[in-house]
């Protein structure tokens, strides 16, 4: 005979304001099998937990139902308490009468009825619950960091310092990410390279870090603690172990007009190239599409001049398989394409640039070697106009609905640096609102206005007309003065919205990690688990999770690293016992379960079966690998013979719940 205890939580007034908790406890007390039923103000408090423990011990309860919040919130808490009292924790169930009832209903009578129904369903399930014991699996003590920008580098350094091996997989030839393209950083105006390149060198020199550049993640299999990852190494055509980065090949390369993505195509580079002078690793790579030798078989100059004999025109892509315990995603962001914003004439004039392009125009490693020159004719611009929120906070469907968060500050930085370096320049900034909530941020923006006399205008540009001399006629609205403005500018800088890097979405599919509508990675809980992906063992660092500035990125990377370290430091991981299992006698080997399994946990084997007439029959039956199964239940739904079932969520248990709800 079952002895079930029911505990109804008030959750302060979160539940009790809408649900008559006393009545719920009273009604449930009359259910068959329920020997104890009570209500309590805060079940999750230590005295609430002690109440559960005491009653299990005192009454010898065989099952417990807690009517409170979502199991996502406190299932672990209460199961631990049951364990303490000596009751198998899987004999405890929660009825969610907060998120699914009190918070979404207004009518007290109806909400109370619903709470009773939900609690009854949980009781019906507990009647059929069986004790379950989680299995355990080993943890591979190596971490994978995907994306070698400032987020990935910081996470890798922290994990490596804790004594674990880390591989940074980076798509480009150098680590460093978008920050390598930035000139100076707000609000301190320290040079980005000066703070970034030492970290890049630290990564290269750290005994626990391997840099896997010009490479991408091809496939990911496995589960937390045991990921198997295939990494695709793209052909570099230069042996990185031999190359010394001397640069002789670059001087001699005759293919000099190759678009340079590092300089955002503002200046060309050579087909064999080192991204920038402080690149890490400092080795050359060949852009095969523009190499005369690879394309036409004529040239070979770089191989002739290379003193290290590092050039290999026959280099091919290769695939390497490695095992990891934890994965950190740090794929970063890109500015959006401005194709949908033709009123700014970005496509029609070289003197309309994005903010990131303006960073390159200002940078000492950029096309102007640190002098701002406008792209059309190399003249020094005298009037520069900035437009913020290009594609951010956009409800027209052309851009993004969110605020990109960093544009106000970097535009203030651009305006200030321009006025500092070239005091004879007129600088205008068109803004929607200036958002500057970081430490020292508002003071920084005020300094741009008050000390550097940047013309901040609330409003927006409506029309940009490029002229034959390269100047731009700009028509704009000043909303505070209710005036139309006409400005003749030399350069227009557009603060384009941020969006996730293009590689993020395919990667999320490989990781089975979830994303929001804008393709930012979703965190496990927006407040309480901000660096964990809902997929166990996958952690999020930096702008792959949403727009952020450098300090936020570094902080989040450190947090993600500490979570990864917490995982890697364990020798064994407790698995989830709620996994699928197949009844071999009922299985007809149809393969439908294997086809729907998203984790590849189901395989088939030929097995001997003894028949009643003592003959042996060989049959093909499904077999579930409990370490790989995540307990999603897809197989139990498709199984036509009912052979597949889920521990903890058996077909019988679910039907009992449904019966209790409907009757």
């Amino acid at each position: 005979m079952q002895k079930i205890g029911v505990f109804v939580c008030h959750c302060g007034t979160n539940i009790s304001a809408t649900v008559d908790v006393k009545k719920v406890a009273e009604t449930l007390g009359k259910e068959p099998g329920v020997v104890y039923s009570t209500d309590y103000q805060f079940m999750c408090s230590s005295s609430g937990q002690n109440l559960v423990i005491d009653k299990i011990k005192e009454l010898g309860l065989t099952g417990v139902v807690i009517c409170s919040c979502s199991p996502r919130m406190h299932e672990k808490t209460f199961r631990k308490a049951a364990d303490k009292a000596g009751l198998n924790s899987f004999l405890l169930e929660m009825a969610n009468i907060r998120e699914q009832d009190a918070w979404v209903h207004k009518n007290r009578e109806e909400a109370t009825l619903k709470a009773v129904a939900l609690a009854r369903a949980a009781v019906a399930k507990v009647h059929l619950n069986t004790p379950l014991t989680p299995g355990s699996s080993d943890v591979n003590k190596r971490a994978l960091v995907i994306g070698g920008g400032i987020a990935g580098m910081q996470a890798a350094l922290d994990i490596a310092d804790a004594g674990f091996k880390v591989d940074i997989v980076e798509r480009e030839a150098t680590i460093g990410g978008t920050m390598t393209q930035i000139d100076k950083t707000f609000p301190t105006l320290d040079c980005a390279s000066c703070i970034l390149t030492p970290k890049m060198v630290d990564c290269e020199q750290h005994e626990n870090i391997s840099l896997v550049t010009k490479s991408e993640v091809d496939t990911i299999e496995g589960y937390v603690g045991n990921f198997t990852v295939k990494i695709k190494h793209k052909a570099k055509y230069v042996d990185p172990d031999k190359c010394t980065g001397c640069g002789l090949c670059i001087q001699k390369c005759p293919s000099k007009k190759v678009p340079d993505p590092f300089n955002l195509n503002l200046a060309p580079h050579t087909a064999i190239n080192i991204t920038f002078p402080q690149a890490v690793p400092l080795v050359a790579t060949i852009d095969a599409d523009n190499c005369l030798m690879i394309q036409k078989g004529k040239c070979g100059l770089c191989a002739t001049v290379c003193p290290a004999d590092a050039i290999n025109y026959e280099d091919k892509d290769s695939i390497e398989e490695k095992k990891y315990g934890a994965i950190i995603v740090s794929t970063g962001f890109k500015p959006i394409s401005l194709h949908n914003f033709d009123e700014y004439a970005y496509d029609n004039s070289p003197n309309v640039v994005t903010s990131l392009e303006y960073e390159r125009l200002m940078s000492a490693t950029g096309p102007g070697k640190g002098t701002v020159l406008r792209p059309s004719d190399g003249k020094h611009p005298k009037t520069i106009v900035f437009q913020q929120c290009v594609g951010s906070r956009d409800t027209s469907g052309r851009g993004k609905t969110y605020c990109s968060g960093i544009c106000c500050m970097y535009t203030a930085k651009h305006a200030m640096l321009t006025r500092e370096k070239y005091p004879d320049t007129d600088v205008y900034v068109f803004y929607t609102d200036v958002r500057s909530p970081g430490k020292g941020f508002d003071e920084f923006y005020r300094r741009a206005v008050e000390k550097y006399h940047v013309h901040y205008i609330k409003g927006a540009i409506g029309k940009v007309v490029p002229m034959s001399n390269g100047n731009l006629q700009i028509q704009a609205s000043d909303l505070l003065m209710n005036e139309q403005l006409h400005i003749e500018a030399d350069l227009l800088v557009l603060a384009a919205a941020m969006e996730p890097d293009k590689s993020a979405k395919p990667l999320a599919q490989k990781l089975t990690a979830s994303m929001d509508n804008d393709d930012w990675f979703t965190e496990s809980h927006p407040k309480l688990r901000p660096v964990e992906s809902p997929t166990a063992g996958v952690f999020l660092a930096g702008a792959c999770q949403g727009p952020k500035d450098i300090p936020q990125t570094v902080a989040q990377a450190g947090a993600a690293a500490s979570k990864a370290i917490g995982l890697l430091i364990k020798d064994k991981l407790q698995g989830n016992p709620c996994v699928a299992h197949s009844d071999e006698n009922m299985c007809n080997g149809c393969s439908q379960c294997a086809n729907v399994c998203p984790y590849g946990a189901i395989t088939y084997e030929e097995k001997d079966f003894r028949m009643p007439d003592r003959t042996t029959l060989v049959r093909r039956v499904a077999s579930v690998n409990p370490a790989v199964c995540q307990g999603c239940g897809a197989c139990t739904v498709v199984c036509p013979s009912g052979a597949m079932d889920l521990f903890g969520f058996s077909n019988k248990q679910i039907l009992a719940e449904v019966d209790a709800l409907c009757l």
Partner: protein, 266 residues
Amino acid sequence: MVYSYYPGCTLKNTAKELDECGRISAEALGFTLEEITDWQCCGGQYTSGKDEIVTKLSSVRALDDAKKSEQDLVTLCSACYNVIKQTNNAMIEDSDMQMKVNNYLKLDEPYKGETSVYHFLEVLRDKVGFDKVKEAVKAPLKGKKVGAYYGCLLLRPGKVLQFDDPENPKIMEDFIKALGGTPVIYNMRNECCGGYTILEDTDAAGRNTSKILLNAEDMGADFLITACPLCQYNLMQNSLSEKTPIYYFTELLAHALGLREKECFK
């Protein structure tokens, strides 16, 4: 291919060239513009009033005529195109408008927006193909720098007309390229000429058109082409500059196809 053709009033008066050159060019390119019988004025800008159905009736009659002939409807005039396509869209999207118009017209079968509306340029781009136009060219406009002037009515509202990108259109530039000319991109090409404000405030229209023409001249255009009689009138009459002549795009087409030679295009 035969299209139901809606010329509009101006094309029968001041803009005869636009109409005639369009028709003969169509024949040369393998399609026919069959004029709708008993068409009435599209109503010009008065149809933009959302709460008025009477101004929409003539457009719906033309659309229904094309529907009965099982033909797509084609216009040459930007304003007629704008009015008829917007009215057609209202007949699809606005069920209240659809009911009222049909109650009033008492057609044999209610009109529900079945007809497709195209501008002549769209026919060249999407039905004939600019590559085919290029093949048919007999007198290519070598060395001519031509500025396309779109005005507003061909492009806006972009979501309804879906003619081209309203901020950076290229259909007329592609048209000019097909005829062997060099298109001149100038960003004022999609700005308003002033439209009917010329009746009340000549200066306002003059200011707009001057800016447009100065920009086109600055970017090096020898002359401009347009699809709109009102734009052409405003640009010609009110511009402070007289250096840049304005022609209808069909005049350029008929010349390039060798149908109607014009000295100024040589």
